[in-house]
Assembly symmetry: C2
Amino acid sequence: MENFVEYIENTKENTLNELFEFLKIPSISSEIEHKHDVRDAAYWLVDNLIKVGLNNTRLIETQGHPLVYAEWLEAGPDAKTILIYGHYDVQPVDPIELWESDPFKPFIKNGKVVARGSADDKGQVFVHIKAVEALMKTDGKLPVNIKFIIEGEEEAAFSHIDEFIEKNPDLLKCDAVVISDTEWFANNVPSICYGLRGISYFEIEVEGPNRDLHSGTFGGAIDNPIQVLAWMINQMKDKYGRITIPGFYDDVLELTQEERDNFLKLPYNHIEYIQDLSIGDTNGEFGFTTLERVWARPSFDLNGIKGGYIGDGQKTVLPSRASAKFSFRLVPNQESTDITEKVLSYIKKLAPPTVKVKVSALGSANPVLVKMHSTAIEACVDSFKQAFEKDVVFMREGGSIPVVETFTKVLKAPVVLMGLGLPDDNIHSPNESFSVENFHKGILASALFFDKYSKI
Amino acid sequence: MENFVEYIENTKENTLNELFEFLKIPSISSEIEHKHDVRDAAYWLVDNLIKVGLNNTRLIETQGHPLVYAEWLEAGPDAKTILIYGHYDVQPVDPIELWESDPFKPFIKNGKVVARGSADDKGQVFVHIKAVEALMKTDGKLPVNIKFIIEGEEEAAFSHIDEFIEKNPDLLKCDAVVISDTEWFANNVPSICYGLRGISYFEIEVEGPNRDLHSGTFGGAIDNPIQVLAWMINQMKDKYGRITIPGFYDDVLELTQEERDNFLKLPYNHIEYIQDLSIGDTNGEFGFTTLERVWARPSFDLNGIKGGYIGDGQKTVLPSRASAKFSFRLVPNQESTDITEKVLSYIKKLAPPTVKVKVSALGSANPVLVKMHSTAIEACVDSFKQAFEKDVVFMREGGSIPVVETFTKVLKAPVVLMGLGLPDDNIHSPNESFSVENFHKGILASALFFDKYSKI
């Protein structure tokens, strides 16, 4: 009888055709005119989850786009349970003119499936569905209990999944959460991400005089809101790149020597890095490498600023107000609520008596660090090694995936970031693509993971 | 026989009606749809200059709106010659909804003529035309030679008068230039302005990475253009409010003790000043009063800034670029070309090697200081004293009137800033107005000035 490895190899063509069908649905969650397309993608998932043999498959309505749930619990109460998370919604396609062809007419080019959503995240979530199929078709059963929860609002402004997780811990109860929605460090370098930064995001407004003034009549006698704002921005970091907010580093978990050694082994090329960005050099917190700075050290960035006259030519205005948006990336074990308080309190102390300063927190997410040494991670490493026939590296990511922290906090289960994306996948950009090899070998890796994890 | 003082008194009603006719012409020079209205205002002036007895009255075409010229040179080659400058164009009326009535239907309210252009500058320039009339109608001649040059582009983006002055020094040759286009220090405080600040205006762009980046993926490893710009802005002034550009103060003429004493005698009220602006306090160069700071010390202001995302909510962008507009107000004897060079050179030295900095000079004007002790100023003081029956104060202004420097430089004649405006005239704002008393007494002061200046 055919085993699941052979099944996956023998059904490659069909599997790719099915992914194409999924990718043809323009499920752009942030655009109201695609509301029905998003729903169609959810129904497509329901059909396919049923087809591979999952039970209790259903749409779960939210105030926005629906969640899709499915399960197979027949491995029994003593077997391990894996929860698989992913999302079926996609980013908008603008600027459409930079696409080589229709974003929703997938095709293969240079070994990659080109289409919106191919890597982020339809291709990656479909991998696990096809892994379930391979095991069910060959063994008639799965070695572990499996639950799927797939959302349609990951790329939208508001998402209801965190609320759903918090209200349904029993439904989602599991031993490990698997998420394939991250990238490898480089092509041909299978990578497991074990840390994500958190974020605290703010906006600030500095109001000086109650009206725009003539800079000739008043210039030199009163504080200019743009200059006050620039001064405040400058008080947030010292010349060694350290954030100067009192207590900011109190809970920062220092990198272990093992992590630092691991990072140094990664194929980071400084010249390529700065050439790709066209910058003169990197800059950041002294005493840390670039990868340490973006993955494991907190950072402070201005995301936007405006004030006064910004049109053509000259206007001799001393503006009434200036505003900015800024954010901090946080690392374990910083708590975003604690940092938010410290930032607000520091800014209130900084605010000069000459002006009015309004500052508010716009949102936050906690950082996440998954234990590098766990049975789930070990099973993932082994599966990647066997499927891709390459050594596996550990990495972190500088961005935030808020749902990871919700899973960690509510379900108290380890999260395995079994990403299959590549750095040149152009996610969120024109000509998004997903490696055909990573797609097929990813299905194998997923099936191997179910198998290996069940035995550990 | 009626003397000119009586003539002015007896013709007040008619004089006001004629001003109303002038104010009804919507000569907004910056709006193309008012091109013909601007020309109509020029023709109205030509008619009125001829009517009061001036010679060689004519429109002088420029590449924009025409100049109006007129002269009366029959006082003879040994008599003094006065050149009177003013402008017949007006500011736009936006926001129109804040006007109490049609900006071009003048009416009297609380002793003031309310209409666009009433104070700036139609009312003030008409004062001198009516002074000529009063002398011609009563004496049949003027005690001095008079030339008028009245432009229609003072409120427009481009003006051709400076070029005209430079090309026609003989036509405009004179012993003194009289300009009524400034304000008194306060109501009932006849003021002669003897100094104006200059300006050097710049724009700067800081380019970091060649594209907008995700602040999670890159934050902490590379310089953020907004933060670099904020840092550069912060390097321009020290904590005592002094500009830190090398050599910036080299040519600054210190205030004399007489000037400082004069300023201290002016009715400046600190509490009213900060309450009017709704600011917590003033701030500026240490060691100087507010009036000294805005009139006689150079200043540095940000006029505008932009970069990154400034819409609603959060966007976790590390922007590719940030830009700003900034300017320096200059005081005698700073040269704007010298300051422009020093600023550009300082910024080039400041620019960090991590980013690309582009900076360019957008425009400049030299400061002006008229000798406080001269025969023309003395005659003006005496005329104001007699006409308004009040003591006269000397003041400076913080803004720039570039044409003043051109007159000074090309004609080598003193400029008398015989302003008749008041601080509550709302020039450039809705409900612009001009004091009826200042209008009538201004005509008397102008006629007295011609008389007194001829005899000194």
